[in-house]
């Protein structure tokens, strides 16, 4: 395995690994409360993803712009307040999906302002090592990754638990309501996270074995 190829792949991959390789929810274990609790229905998880996207990207932009001037310990205060304002402003965005979704989410809409993805990205792009545009790309990639993970989990949980997808009932042989409960959320995230790790390692081993086969 030539190291230079690996380094180049990594540098190029850095733009997209937020989606699958370094998925915020499954690999880095950020924003788990949403992945665990909100993914009981596809509709709510899509709306949460939208809300996150539209609150994460401006906040990270704010961080990369104004981060340098704030003291390091005080910066989260500014970002969370800004994020909260943006989230509250964007709530009408998700109403067309279904009027009562905002109520069904309950506290998980305001919580979006203090989720760990936001804090981590802001901390990283406060004193950006590389160009600020990377901040935007990273934020977009992470919110996309978050959306992907949430929808994946919600797909399974809604299908198994409520036997419906986006509210449309799907005929299933048996229905386990238990999947709608919190613990199934944890287990679903765990299994998917393990799956992702397994796939990533399989990819690594495959590319590694291509160049130096296993000594028989």
């Amino acid at each position: 395995m030539k190291l230079e190829k690996l380094k180049r792949a990594r540098r190029r991959g850095r733009w997209f690994d937020g989606i699958f390789g370094r998925n915020p929810v499954l690999c880095c274990g950020l924003a788990l409360p949403f992945a665990v609790m909100v993914t009981t229905s596809l509709r709510s998880s899509v709306s949460i993803s939208i809300l996150l996207a539209c609150s994460l990207i401006p906040t990270v932009l704010l961080a990369s712009l104004v981060g340098r001037f704030l003291p390091r310990w005080f910066s989260p205060v500014v970002y969370t307040l800004f994020a909260m304002v943006v989230v509250v402003a964007c709530v009408p965005l998700i109403l067309p999906i279904s009027p009562e979704v905002a109520d069904s989410l309950g506290i998980y809409v305001p919580i979006l302002s203090v989720n760990t993805i936001l804090l981590t990205l802001c901390a990283r792009y406060e004193r950006p090592a590389d160009r600020p545009v990377m901040a935007l790309v990273d934020a977009a990639a992470y919110s996309l990754g978050f959306a992907l993970a949430m929808c994946l989990i919600a797909f399974f949980r809604e299908l198994l638990g409520a036997g419906s997808l986006w509210g449309v009932p799907v005929p299933l042989p048996f229905k386990a309501e238990g999947v709608q409960i919190a613990f199934a959320g944890f287990i679903a995230v765990a299994l998917l996270s393990a799956l992702v790790r397994f796939l990533r390692r399989a990819a690594l081993v495959f590319s590694y074995r291509r160049h130096n086969p296993k000594p028989e």
């Binding site: 042989p173 386990a176 238990g178 613990f183």
Partner: protein, 336 residues
């Protein structure tokens, strides 16, 4: 002659893992036969489904983990039987199967496989089924009435005395009914007398150390005595212990060697803790049957109990070493 090197003790105790597991399986099979007597063929089929699913799933998981499945390892059979015997005879097969899959694939193998899981798969499987399909799991047929093996189950379903206790009433069945399991309840957990016999057998076979189940039952009895729910004193204790799967749990689920602590003193602490939590769950819990949940929570505290016990024993060892050194030290002084 040329020989290969062998490790130090060249003679071994005759018993092996298989025998350890086989004791447990013999007793569970006895309970299966009893269930067959009470509920007819369907009980056996439920047990079979559960066991087969567990074994197959175990083999699959071991293969996935890249190891060769060991045919002599009977622990999935034990898990399957435990899950089946705590269910009512009229349970649909998919419930038992999914419980078994959950138990093996999610609770057992990710934590390290046969000897290294942290939570008791049987208890976890039953809890999963109880939470997902409460309606099906807590409705029991009356023994000796006809239950068709396949197809729609039309038998009349009743509540378990545990439910009666839950809602505050006093169960009506008298003592003999309770002892011989002649009341609606889970397949294997109703026949109290047989279960007690199994407990005695296990203790004398030294498969299970008495420091685990007895403190558990003692704790349950003590809590019941302190806060009786149905009637007073001894009668309340009888009803509490006889109803639901508490006794079955004490004998088969709690005493699983993998998930129980390692020293006698810590086993006693674990038993008492599990007993208290079981009774707390019964009083304040959401479901009538609390034993599997209590076992799971107690399993979470096993590492803690073990660690503190080990440091206690380390302190004792250190004290002994100091004592002996103090004794031998005067002699050393005179020599110098």
């Amino acid at each position: 002659m040329k020989l290969n090197r062998r490790a130090a003790p060249h003679i071994r105790f005759p018993e092996s893992n298989r025998t350890l597991m086989s004791d447990m399986i013999i007793l569970l099979l006895v309970l299966c036969v009893l269930a067959f007597l009470y509920y007819g063929g369907r009980a056996l089929i439920v047990c079979a489904v559960s066991v087969v699913t567990a074994v197959v799933c175990d083999a699959l998981c071991t293969l996935i983990r890249g190891r060769r499945p060991n045919p002599r390892d009977l622990s999935p059979v034990v898990t399957g039987l435990i899950i089946a015997l705590t269910m009512p005879a009229t349970i649909p097969y998919y419930v038992v199967a999914s419980a078994a899959v959950f138990a093996i694939a999610i609770v057992k193998h990710p934590f390290g496989g046969t000897g290294q899981n942290l939570f008791n798969p049987g208890a976890a499987g039953f809890s999963f089924a109880a939470i997902c399909w409460p309606g099906l799991v807590f409705m029991y047929p009356m023994p000796f009435d006809r239950i068709p093996a396949f197809g729609e189950v039309t038998a009349q379903l009743y509540q378990n005395p545990a439910f009666v206790l839950k809602v505050g009433g006093v169960p009506t069945n008298n003592l003999t009914e309770l002892l011989f399991g002649n009341y609606p309840g889970p397949m294997g957990a109703t026949n109290i007398l047989v279960i007690l016999a199994c407990l005695v057998y296990l203790i004398f076979r030294r498969t299970v150390r008495w420091q685990l189940p007895l403190p558990f039952l003692a704790a349950c009895a003590a809590v019941t005595l302190l806060f009786p729910r149905a009637g007073t004193g001894l009668q309340a204790v009888f009803y509490e212990l006889m109803s639901g799967t508490l006794l079955f749990g004490a004998v088969f689920v709690l005493t699983d060697p993998v998930t129980s602590p390692k020293r006698d003193s810590s086993m006693a602490v674990y038993g008492v803790f599990a007993g208290v939590v079981a009774m707390l769950f019964r009083y304040f819990g959401g479901y009538e049957e609390s034993m599997p949940f209590a076992v799971l929570i107690a399993n979470a505290f096993v590492p803690l109990i073990d660690r503190y016990n080990e440091s206690l024993h380390r302190a004792i060892r250190r004290k002994h070493l100091e004592a002996r050194k103090a004794k031998t030290r005067p002699q050393a002084r005179t020599l110098v």
